[in-house]
């Protein structure tokens, strides 16, 4: 069996990377103070970024998570400010809810909403079951929110948003208050539980892929700096205390990447181990990216703390996303409980 990515998946990632090289330079990222550039998002949507996982009847391309993984890694490598993880997760969840028929009214509106999201004309976001705040709610046309075991689509204008501090300022965070009559039910009962699991897994998977890209870029920048920066008459990268740190961070990222790919495969193929595989991936990706961020910060002599340093753009993305959608500890706990449960089950008569 061949598990490698297809030529088409590589080509799509290359197209996204090429677009971002031109339209998402560090200068662009720094200028996107609000966290959302409509023109760049539209360009990404034009090549399919917002519609890959949306079902075909709703203006999407009917692809799956594996079609997105490499492209999302490229978004991380460019420190893309737009909420690609949340919007993709929200659009996929809404598409799935409509496909399964687990809906209760408001169908026509949702079809329009989803088609506009696929075109890049409207942004969707979703509350992560692990997190207290909703990311990018201010830029979204609609929010997918969970309440008392049911999922709703809430019009942004019908919700009261209260800004919350965010370590990555362009990644805006909000507490959301809304009246039940302001939301439209899309899933309840068993369907809602399935949606919660799917949202959590997809958000964790895609933020893991984004973190891989950001970590890769942080290490590239640091290696290049360590070769240029001269101290004691030689490049600092020639000192073991510097290069071993960088090598360790690199190894951590390389070891996390196949776990993220495996999680993508498990999720796409509906494997019984999907929850565990996604959590193993997010735990590894979060830990690897945090390590890469710490090493990059130190190798650069802490200049990355300043807003003026390009490094800062990637550091804050890593600090935010390594904790969002469940941090490494939370996901290690989920891996552990799945293993322990299995062992207990196996011992039962």
């Amino acid at each position: 069996m061949d598990f490698s990515f297809t030529v088409e998946q590589h080509d799509f990632a290359a197209a996204v990377a090429e677009l971002l090289r031109t339209h998402c330079t560090p200068e662009h990222v720094r200028a996107t103070k609000s966290g959302f550039d409509r023109d760049r998002w539209k360009r990404l949507a034009d090549i399919g970024m917002a519609s890959v996982c949306v079902p075909e009847p709703h203006g999407g391309l009917g692809g799956d998570d594996l079609d997105l993984l490499l492209a999302v890694e490229e978004c991380g490598s460019a420190a893309l400010p737009e909420p690609v993880v949340e919007s993709t997760t929200a659009a996929t969840a809404l598409g799935a809810a409509m496909e399964s028929g687990a809906r209760d009214g408001g169908h026509a509106d949702h079809a329009v909403l989803l088609a506009r999201a696929a075109e890049g004309d409207a942004l969707l976001t979703v509350s992560a079951p692990t997190d207290p705040y909703v990311a990018a709610a201010d830029h979204a046309a609609a929010l997918l929110l969970e309440r008392e075991g049911a999922w709703y689509v809430v019009d942004r204008d019908r919700a009261a948003l209260t800004p919350q501090p965010s370590v990555d300022a362009p990644r805006t965070l909000f507490t959301v208050e809304w009246d039940s009559d302001g939301g439209t039910l899309i899933a309840r009962g068993e369907a809602a539980r399935a949606m919660s699991a799917a949202v959590l897994n997809r958000g964790a998977l895609l933020s893991g892929a984004y973190l891989l890209g950001a970590a890769r870029r942080l290490i590239e920048m640091s290696v290049s700096y360590a070769k240029d920066r001269i101290q004691f008459g030689r490049p600092i990268g020639s000192f073991q205390a510097v290069k071993h740190h960088l090598a360790d961070a690199f190894v951590a990222v390389e070891f996390a990447r196949p776990q993220v790919w495996r999680a993508g495969y498990s999720l796409t193929s509906g494997a019984a181990t999907a929850d565990r595989d996604v959590s193993a991936a997010k735990a590894s990706a979060s830990a690897a990216a945090e390590r890469a961020a710490a090493v990059a910060l130190q190798v650069h002599g802490a200049i990355g703390y300043t807003h003026e340093s390009d490094l800062h753009l990637w550091l804050t993305k890593v600090w935010a996303l390594s904790r969002a959608w469940g941090n490494a500890e939370w996901h290690r706990g989920r891996v552990a409980s799945s293993l322990i449960d299995q062992r207990l089950t196996a011992r039962l008569p």
Binding site: V7, E8, D11, L19, G48, L61
Partner: protein, 259 residues
Amino acid sequence: MNIVVLVKQVPDTATERKLSSDDNTLDRAASDGVINELDEYAIEEALLLREKHGGEVTVLTMGPDQATDSIRKALSMGADKAVHLSDEALHGSDALQTAYALSKALGTVEFDLVVLGSESTDARTGVVGAALAEYLGLPQLTLAGKVDVDGSAIKVQRQTDYGYDVVEAQLPAVVSVVEKINEPRYPSFKLIMQAKKKPVQKLAIADAGIDAAGVGLANATTETVDFAAAPPRAAGTVVQDEGDGGVKAADFLAEKKFV
């Protein structure tokens, strides 16, 4: 209107490019192949003309098997089909022979317009478009910064050092384009998925009626006699400013005839 776009796979300009010491031709294994950057503008212009006037866009490339990567890129941008002229006998062909071979390959395709980039980033001769037009006996409109087609008439703004000339001709014609003409689109997921289903016709020289004596390294009209790596850049002169820095700078510029 049926348009043929000529594309060439070249070594990535971001990598170190090498010649092979065996026969002084390009060492294709030494760096990754990518589509010639200027050809992307030609593809974009062809797609824009198709959107306006209808018809089909066919990609034609001459090169070894790896050139399929560039064909796929062109199809992923939206071209309809491709012709791949590939034959061991073509190895080492120079610009003139390439134009001859392409003119024969074009004989197998119906077209109203041929569009190509103004030069390739590897050889940079910039003559294939002109030579091709000669072989085909068609008008050549080179260095186009703007293209307008009206019925069977074509009008381009030909970029010059001082501005542009307006050049007109009747179709069919050969047009080469410069970078400022448009902004090439990025391949989309949808077109990438469709690209694998688009027809790619493989041609050997016999299929195109190309005379083996007219192509290949042994018959080339130009020859690479020798090559050497560019010498490393010499260190500059450091001038200590002891109050006379301005004079020294002016002397330096005067010596180099800048002032």
